[in-house]
């Protein structure tokens, strides 16, 4: 099952798209499983998906949508709440992604698709620039401290001159 959140006019809304696990082979044939729905041409989409996509989407506030998604997930695996932050895209699966990833990687082996994104966990790229961010946050404090030291030095020099 695939659930996608979206935003409209600054109000978080949720778009429900259902996708049964049996469609996974079709999805996996697209360039990326995550972006399968947008990457696949309409005529290449599995028949069930075409029908589902034509249904009207319910719109919900983000918090309420998350509660609904948790209820829908029940005893299944839910991805996207802590992963893929900021995209408001959630995935419910009866099979852990780790297992799906293993199968996809195995299938891609020795083919031109080897190494393409599948279901593996990806480290957040923003973490790479964390040191820069911390330095930016520290800049005002460093500036105030430098200014204080310079002003104090100037003051003491003036006193000495007198």
């Amino acid at each position: 099952m695939f659930v996608r959140g979206a935003f409209r006019n600054d109000k978080p809304v949720l778009v429900f798209i259902l996708m049964w696990l049996r469609l996974l082979p079709a999805v996996a044939s697209c360039t990326s499983a995550i972006f399968a729905l947008t990457d696949c041409e309409m005529d290449k989409r599995p028949p069930v998906l075409k029908v589902v996509l034509k249904k009207p989407f319910p719109f919900l506030p983000l918090e309420q949508a998350l509660i609904t998604v948790r209820q829908m997930a029940a005893n299944r695996y839910l991805y996207g709440v802590n992963e893929n932050g900021g995209t408001a895209t959630w995935y419910i699966s009866s099979v852990p992604f780790e297992e799906l990833n293993k199968a996809i990687v195995e299938n891609q082996k020795n083919t031109e698709k080897a190494g393409r994104p599948a279901f593996q966990a990806v480290a957040p790229q923003l973490k790479e620039s964390s040191s820069w961010a911390i330095a930016t946050l520290a800049a005002p404090l460093a500036a105030a401290a430098t200014a204080y030291l310079i002003a104090r030095r100037k003051k003491s020099q003036k006193k000495e001159d007198k």
Binding site: F7, D10, P12, L62, P124, Q125, L126, K127, E128, S129, S130, W132, A133, I134, A135, T136, L137, A139, P140, A142, A143, A144, T146, A147, Y148, I150, A151, R152, K154
Partner: protein
């Protein structure tokens, strides 16, 4: 004869802020993103990569924030408030601009012209908006820190508004030199000195030229 008007420190802060401000504008616009749309990626492929331009934006932000805060704090601690707007600056600015346009007599000024003080205040307000919203956006980029969606939305809007206002202020800053009389102030930001006759004539309340 020349009069010393801008210290090395002041000039360094001025040009440092100008340099980092342009760097922030360029790297900030690239994050919108526009590099691919306007073909910039054909020359510099990495300009379309958010995670490449972000550290550049941070680097310019470090310099910009440091110099802006340093400028405010050091002058406050030294008790140097020549550039801070004073009562009646607005009406005096109107009188000066009127005199520049009609060739009339300008009211006497101190080290800075009233419109220079007002321009400084406008830059200070816009830069404060950019720095505060920018630092909050930076904080949000750290792992484990998040703000509610409306807060993120308004931070982005105000940060973008700040950039537009900074561009408009820069245009106004440059437009000041349309008036020939103001061009005498230009050397101060390069060599530190201005013409003594000019200072005596236009900044008669600033007694520095007598030294």
């Amino acid at each position: 004869m020349r009069v010393y008007r801008q210290s090395v420190r002041n000039r360094f802060v001025h040009w440092g802020i100008a340099f980092s401000c342009f760097g922030l504008m360029a790297t900030g616009i690239l994050q919108m993103p526009v590099a691919k749309r306007y073909g910039l990626t054909q020359v510099f492929p990495s300009t379309a990569d958010f995670f490449t331009t972000l550290p550049w934006h941070y680097a310019f932000a470090i310099l910009f924030t440091f110099l802006c805060v340093f400028h405010l704090v050091v002058h406050a601690l030294e008790g140097d408030f020549d550039i801070v707007p004073q009562k009646g600056d607005f009406s005096k600015s109107v009188a000066i601009i009127k005199a520049l346009l009609t060739g009339g007599q300008e009211p006497p000024s101190g080290k800075y012209l009233p419109e220079q003080r007002l321009a400084w205040a406008a830059f200070a307000a816009v830069f404060a908006l950019l720095i505060i919203t920018g630092l909050l956006k930076t904080l949000k980029n750290l792992s484990g820190i998040d703000f509610p969606d409306p807060v993120l939305f308004w931070l982005a809007q105000l940060h973008n508004l700040g950039m537009v206002l900074a561009i408009l202020l820069f245009i106004g800053h440059m437009a000041a030199f349309i008036f020939k009389a103001n061009r005498f102030l230009l050397p101060a930001m390069f060599s530190g000195y201005v013409d003594a006759d000019y200072a005596k004539h236009r900044h008669s309340l600033w007694k520095e030229y007598e030294k």
